[in-house]
């Protein structure tokens, strides 16, 4: 499966050297748009999109439907994001976003390219938060709220979920490690997209974000 990489800005999915990047081929007809400006690069591209077996655009928190039509768009265009939690390194999981009209061939070709680079692909339809963020953000918000309400100490809450369910990390330790302010950014965005209370950022996450942004302003002032 030969593909070219069009890099446009910093990539959340591929911040470092990776087999997916190394295995790219400048003669490939398929296209991987990577980086925070991937969608813009896709929109302004000079490449022949019709000839591509597949085109994959790196997504942030937004839906693929922002970049291509919801009901009747190109059958070879997919969205993707490699899952990572805040400052934690990206995981092996690639969420590959399809539209109802996406062709099976394009889906299979994109999957093959990611899997050849050692990544694990889960296919999902175009919903805010895809699979992972749609599931974990309400759970993290609930954990943060229950911590405020004194259900148990942070350590006991984490330990219960680790020992009781075999989770490698408890939610509080995980959020503190990966950056509570990042949780705020994602869950606030999903709250706006979905309008469901469960996504409304928990107090602790909002505070962490405010603190982070005040600190950054201080740094700017000092510089």
């Amino acid at each position: 499966m030969s593909y070219q990489i069009i890099a446009a800005g910093d990539s959340q999915s591929f911040p470092d050297k990776h087999a997916l990047i190394d295995q790219a081929d400048s003669k490939g007809t398929s296209l991987l748009y990577i980086g925070q400006d991937a969608a813009e690069a896709f929109a302004n591209s000079v490449f022949d999109h019709e000839a591509a077996a597949f085109i994959a655009i790196e997504l942030g928190n937004e839906c693929l439907g922002v970049h291509i039509d919801d009901d009747n768009g190109p059958q070879n265009v997919l969205g993707f994001a490699r899952f990572r939690l805040g400052d934690d390194p990206p995981t092996k999981l690639v969420e590959l976003v399809r539209k109802p009209y996406t062709s099976a061939q394009a889906l299979a070709a994109a999957r093959a390219a990611f899997e050849a680079a050692g990544l694990v692909v889960a296919v999902c339809h175009d919903f805010p938060g895809r699979i992972l963020n749609k599931l974990i953000r309400p759970y993290y918000n609930a954990a943060l709220r229950r911590l405020d309400e004194g259900l148990a100490s942070a350590n006991d809450m984490d330990m219960t979920l680790r020992l009781g369910l075999g989770y490698p990390d408890g939610p509080i330790a995980l959020l503190n490690r990966s950056g509570l302010h990042h949780h705020f950014e994602v869950t606030q965005d999903l709250y706006e997209q979905l309008g469901q209370e469960a996504y409304a950022p928990a107090r602790r996450a909002r505070n962490a974000w405010l603190k982070q942004n005040l600190l950054i302003e201080d740094d700017d002032a000092a510089a």
């Binding site: 889960a122 296919v123 999902c124 699979i131 599931l135 148990a152 020992l163 369910l165 075999g166 209370e197």
Partner: protein, 291 residues
């Protein structure tokens, strides 16, 4: 090890049998009460088989399983609980049934006996209120399977004395378990988080966000969970998930605890999970072969 103390367990279902194995293995004299002698005989066989396997796997010394089984007394007479230091109730989740059992126990047991409930969803304070000794009552929620999982969620009721809670905590540690203190609120810690999380996953399937196999793969790969949520739900069973939702949502009105419509459709279709061979995944001799 504490050979002198006696622990009584009411109900010999999966949880009761598991807790009995834990108690006997830790050296306690162990009494198991149930109404049906066939169920008790079955529990004894299950315990013996589990312990035999522990010997085979080198987790117990040769012959130790027989010694542990020697600590077991199965009985259909609640009178045999008259020397218990701690009684753990593990019958099904019905407040009236639990009250009836504890009332009988209150007449049989000496005043120093501590009563505990293994309930996962009913308020400890509510159960304690019908026992005649609400100051000597604690919640002790073991995880499934109890004989393998160390965690016990321990909750004091509103009227539980500090002395009782301390004693019960030490007994829990003497059982070789790891107690964690939680408040007497619906679902304690584990089910408070797990039931809505599972509902969210079920709704994700119903909304057509992704196929069950993709959801399980995504969660396991990204978060390192040992089981995908839909694999776990297939083990829990849709019937049990419905009961958990009703118990939690009934007291909290938390929207995420409300039973997803898909659960009732799956129950209607006979897709309860592993126990019927089909849930979110299809099972053939316990092997997953597709969604």
């Amino acid at each position: 090890m504490n050979a002198k103390q006696t622990i009584g367990i009411v109900g010999c279902g999966t949880m009761g049998t598991g807790i009995a194995i834990v108690a006997a293995r830790a050296g306690f004299k162990t009494r198991i009460y149930d109404l049906k002698s066939e169920s008790l005989e079955n529990a004894r066989k299950q315990a013996a088989a589990f312990l035999k396997k522990s010997v085979e796997r080198g987790k117990l010394a040769e012959g130790e399983d027989a010694l542990i089984m020697g600590q077991f007394l199965t009985t259909t007479s609640i009178q045999d609980f008259s020397d218990c230091d701690l009684v753990i109730e593990a019958v099904f989740e019905d407040l009236k049934v639990k009250h009836a059992i504890f009332k009988q126990l209150n007449d049989v047991c000496p005043s120093y006996t501590i009563f505990a409930s293994n309930t996962s969803t009913i308020s400890i304070t509510e159960i304690a209120g019908g026992t005649g000794r609400d100051d000597r009552f604690v919640g002790m929620h073991f995880c499934l399977p109890a004989q393998l999982m160390k965690l016990v969620e321990m909750s004091p009721g509103m009227n539980t004395s500090d002395e009782t809670f301390d004693k019960a905590w030490k007994l829990c540690e003497a059982l070789g378990q790891r107690p964690v203190r939680t408040r007497d609120t619906p679902g304690f810690i584990l089910n408070y988080f797990l039931v809505p999380w599972h509902n969210d996953v079920i709704n994700l399937v119903d909304q057509g966000v992704a196929e069950p196999a993709d959801i399980d793969l995504a969660v396991k790969t990204a978060l390192g969970y040992p089981l995908g949520p839909l694999e776990l739900l297939d083990m829990v069973g849709m019937d049990t998930q419905l009961l958990l939702c009703e118990a939690l949502h009934g007291v909290t009105n938390e929207p995420r605890a409300a039973c997803p419509p898909l659960v009732k459709r799956m129950i209607g279709a006979g897709r309860l999970g592993r126990k019927t061979g089909k849930g979110f995944h299809t099972y053939d001799s316990n092997k997953i072969f597709g969604a």
